[in-house]
């Protein structure tokens, strides 16, 4: 049991971290009333920027390279997300459609530039990815230490911590109250003097930053390079985590961890006698099936923010 946990939990954490980060972005955006199907594209952008920056500046920044890479990916991610904000906030675009376009655009730009800059469809592997480490002191705690603090990526902790920060911001601060108000009833927020468009821009930009962070963390902990196949569906899983987690930062975190656990189990299972007999395909579809069952069974009535997906026209009805 102990050993099973010790091998599963770190894998769950590294698998889930990019999903958690991206899902947090989704929570911000959707809580403000802007549907974000474009998380996948934001992750693509993050992965692309993270890898390219890492490859280009590894010599300059040394051991700080991965950290600066994810920072830059956050910045570029949020700049990129402005497109979504402009379309869906300023031009009242259908937000789902704009998100789909974001996905196509990010992949198109990423691969196009990779080909133009590197002359091939995928980059080399980076020399400065993130590595796991044992957390000093904490790792020495008996039982808990080895399970939670050995062989862990700091970025995984970053993801968990940011989930709590996001919760605090959304549910304890004026900013969060306003952001949620804008997503529930923008006109009410407007009459209270809250700038609806500005809040939504901020929220979408945050989703860009988190998506960029999630994508670059994925790239620098798991993939190590960038190609058209680096991000294939992780953004959609993050979106699933947003909804599964009822648009709540901690819920989204829980959902992402759950996906990680399901994936991890599907790998570990071959060593567990009972699970080993299950056809491979069942294990492959388990995470998706479980999500559907969970949505249908336990949280069937997840209420989306009421104004989610509805452009706000001043003076409209």
């Amino acid at each position: 049991m102990f050993e099973a946990l010790q091998s599963i939990i770190p894998t769950v954490l590294f698998y889930s971290a990019p999903l958690i980060l991206t899902a947090l972005g989704g929570v911000f955006s959707e809580r403000s009333g802007v549907v974000n199907i474009g998380l996948e594209g934001l992750m693509v952008m993050g992965a692309f920027v993270g890898i390219v920056f890492n490859l280009t500046f590894a010599d300059l920044f040394g051991i700080w390279t991965p950290w600066i890479s994810i920072l830059v990916a956050m910045v570029i991610g949020s700049i990129f997300s402005i497109i979504h904000a402009v379309a869906s906030v300023t031009f009242y675009a259908n937000q789902v459609v704009s998100g789909v376009a974001i996905n196509m655009l990010a992949l198109g730009i990423g691969v196009y530039l990779t080909k133009v800059w590197y002359g091939k469809g995928q980059t080399d592997m980076v020399d400065r990815p993130f590595y796991t480490m044992d957390v000093p002191i904490l790792a020495d705690i008996p039982i808990i230490g080895p399970i939670f603090f050995e062989g862990i990526y700091i970025t995984s902790y970053l993801a968990l911590i940011l989930a709590f920060v996001a919760w605090y911001v959304l549910y304890q601060t004026p900013f969060g109250l306003r952001l949620r108000a804008v997503g529930e009833h923008p006109m009410a927020a407007d009459t209270n003097g809250i700038k609806v468009e500005r809040m939504r821009y901020i929220a979408v930009l945050l989703s860009g930053a988190f998506g960029g962070l999630g994508g670059s963390v994925f790239a620098l902990t798991i993939a190590s390079n960038f190609s058209h196949a680096t991000i294939v569906g992780q953004g959609f899983m993050a979106l699933a985590a947003v909804i599964f987690g009822k648009w709540h930062p901690l819920g989204a975190m829980g959902a992402a961890l759950f996906f990680g656990l399901a994936q991890s189990l599907s790998v570990v299972s071959s060593g567990i006698p009972l699970l080993a007999d299950i056809p491979q395909v069942i294990l492959l579809i388990a995470p998706y099936l479980l999500t559907i069952l969970a949505l249908a069974g336990f949280i069937g009535r997840a209420d989306a923010p009421r104004a989610n997906g509805v452009p706000y026209l001043k003076g409209g009805r």
């Binding site: 199907i37 675009a93 992949l107 133009v116 056809p279 395909v281």
Partner: protein, 349 residues
């Protein structure tokens, strides 16, 4: 005002496409390519000769159908992001019937096509049911269903349709949409009769939505569920029906690939993207059957033509993805275009 908005309705997509192409040209310039060469290559790749024209039509066929799949659900206020999975199961079912049954063409081909549509419809049924009965977000369920379709289909190909192989045998000739005649006049392109099915499907959609009481109900439910319930419509039934019919169109798109283009189905390492492209097609076509046909053809042209760009002009094919994405943005943000147009008009006066 009404005639004006009709004009706008047409102008917006056209202007969007033009801006998209201009943006593409600028990107080519910035990355050191010659846009004229690039677009010439694109043109040649799509219309260069009878072969490319045949391939362009072939490529448009499933795009029209997935566009209809998304558009139909949209009319009922549902977002069918699951066209992708529905395509896959439709493809599988059609090929399966194509392989398993021995019958004259007049029976075999329709049954195989229908099988594709039914499979896609079933794949739309579950999300529809969950949405109707439990209020579960259809976007998320259809995303999950896409992955399930992919993995289950692969497992079936490997374990049932082949003996651990990756590609099935070709389907029986009696189930094939391919046409030697069509191929021979297009230098052996893979054009097949599916395009007629796609056009017919578009007509069916137009007819159901615009002319029948079913369409009236579907749209009413899409606009206002409470009022539809008040008016005595069965809201759940309509939601499910919409997803099933939408799924059926996507399943047909899969059948086109299975019975027309390939004649087989192979283990897939990733999505076909036909379903996702369908979203773009539906949008550009304003969720209207006729618009979807035009949009499907346009995207077919762009995607087919893209193949020629790297070879002739050295431009990566991804440029076309960028252009398509930009076109979608402009259509979705049509407010800006409408605004600009009305400004333009005012000033003209």
């Amino acid at each position: 005002m009404t005639s004006n908005s009709k004009h706008f309705g047409l102008l917006v997509p056209i202007i969007s496409v033009i801006i998209g192409l201009i943006a593409g040209a600028i990107i080519m310039l910035l990355s050191g390519h010659n846009p004229i060469e690039g677009y010439a290559a694109l043109w040649a790749g799509a219309f260069g000769d009878s072969y490319t024209i045949g391939e362009t039509i072939r490529r448009s066929t499933p795009l029209i159908l997935t566009g209809l799949a998304v558009a139909f659900a949209f009319k009922t206020g549902l977002f069918n992001i699951g066209a992708e999975g529905q395509v896959i199961v439709g493809w599988l079912a059609a090929v399966w019937i194509g392989l398993a049954i021995d019958a004259p063409m007049i029976i075999h081909l329709p049954v195989a096509i229908l099988a594709g549509a039914i499979a896609g419809g079933l794949w739309g049924f579950l999300p529809g049911l969950l949405k109707a009965k439990l209020g579960v977000h259809e976007v998320i369920i259809t995303i999950m269903m896409n992955y399930i379709a992919l993995h289950v289909t692969n497992a079936i190909i490997r374990n049932v349709l082949t003996d651990q192989g990756t590609t099935t045998e070709p389907i029986a000739g009696t189930a094939s949409l391919a046409s030697e005649w069509l191929q021979s006049i297009t230098f052996y392109s893979r054009i097949h009769y599916g395009i007629l099915i796609a056009l017919f499907a578009a007509f069916i959609m137009w007819f159901i939505i615009e002319r029948t009481s079913y369409g009236y109900e579907l749209k009413a439910v899409g606009f206002n569920r409470h009022a539809s319930n008040y008016a005595g419509m069965n809201v759940s039934k309509n939601i499910i029906l919409s997803m099933v019919i939408g799924g059926g169109f996507a399943g047909l798109a899969g059948a086109m690939e299975g019975l027309g283009t390939y004649g087989t189905i192979s283990v897939m390492s990733g999505f076909t993207n036909l379903g996702f492209d369908g979203i773009a097609v539906a949008l550009l076509g304003a969720n209207n059957a006729f618009g979807v046909i035009l949009a499907g053809l346009l995207f077919g042209v762009l995607k087919e033509g893209a193949g020629e760009m790297p070879t002739t002009a050295g431009v990566p094919t991804e440029l076309v993805d960028i252009i398509i994405a930009l076109i979608i943005f402009f259509v979705a943000s049509s407010y800006i275009i409408r605004w600009a147009l009305s400004r333009f008009k005012k000033e003209g006066k």
